[in-house]
Symmetry: C2
Subunit: 198 residues, 2 copies
């Protein structure tokens, strides 16, 4: 089978897919679009959004759906329906949090952007990060049931990107999340992927 | 087992869960919060968002994750991983579309709200609705593989709510989507649920 991932030349929503493909030891074409060329490419992409993954030429969009599919192949999507549910909930809650940071990034109005930053730093980030820290503390160092799942890979990958782009140290005073990050980045296949692409 | 759904007294993101619980013939407490009382309740809800579903007292949030879990019990979540993937993609694409309409509703600035309306009616709605119409045409009257899945239940339920709230007839000139809506609303358990709660 052939796998071709099309995304920009940064981590973002492409990186969790790259993590999962690497974890699965799947050879894939890592097609990275120049951000400047995006306007001329956008109309050729279904729904005009990346990442897309082509499997044997079949074009798939929606990064969470793609991650969930790959995670099933990697046995990282839960051992029963209830565990899969808890993983999906963790991912969607983290994604809600990430949306807040993205709404700040993409705000082009300086005034409302500044207001969003204040709310982010004083309310949204402490609110969510404390919850995530507690979940990992209660689940023996992972997001769900004390074992590695695609929620951990997804969240660590996107969290690193959020930290990098926002310059806010989300992990400060959150030892359990720091520990989870170290564990995910120490998974051999993830480690070698990250080392090759930093 | 006891099921308690907490949401507002309207369709919104609660209705797909009500559809699935009805489809499964599960007796559930349909706890509807007065919108005016929400500010005093919000802090008692995990992540401050509804719907939440309590199963035997275990509190679950994230409507898509909950729908997917219930859909598995109803055999509406795909017969293999690939079909499940296509269902997830359909739901997430529809959800992206719905976000555009919600961004318009929730815009409190009259000027930017009016601009959003123009883009919605002239660009976003035709763009997405044509794609959805074609998908249903190509899949023998359903979103995925010519058979009923939770993508159909979710999309019909949320589409009806969007039409109701926006007063824009999204289904105009889309006979395949109209046909899908009729089929979903004719499913006996959905039909009797809707008849009881209109």
């Amino acid at each position: 089978m052939t796998y071709k991932l099309t995304y920009f030349n940064f981590a973002g929503l492409g990186e969790p897919i790259r993590y999962l493909l690497s974890y699965l030891d799947i050879d894939f074409e890592d097609n990275r679009i120049d951000y400047e060329k995006w306007p001329s490419i956008k109309h050729t992409i279904p729904y005009g959004k990346v990442p897309i993954l082509e499997i044997d030429g079949k074009v798939l969009n929606q990064s969470l759906a793609i991650c969930r599919y790959l995670a099933k192949k990697a046995n990282l999507a839960g051992s029963d329906d209830w565990e899969s549910l808890l993983i999906d909930i963790a991912v969607d809650n983290f994604n809600d949090f990430a949306q807040n940071i993205k709404a700040y990034w993409f705000d082009t109005n300086e005034e409302s952007k500044a207001a969003k930053y204040v709310t982010l730093v004083n309310e949204t980030i402490p609110y969510y990060m404390e919850k995530f820290e507690n979940i990992v503390a209660e689940n023996n160092g992972y997001f769900v049931n004390g074992k590695l799942s695609w929620a951990d890979l997804f969240i660590v990958s996107v969290m690193d990107f959020l930290i990098h782009k926002s310059n806010i140290d989300l992990l400060k005073d959150h030892p359990n999340l720091q520990g989870l990050r170290e564990k995910v980045l120490a998974v051999p296949k993830i480690k070698s992927w990250v080392e090759k692409h930093q």
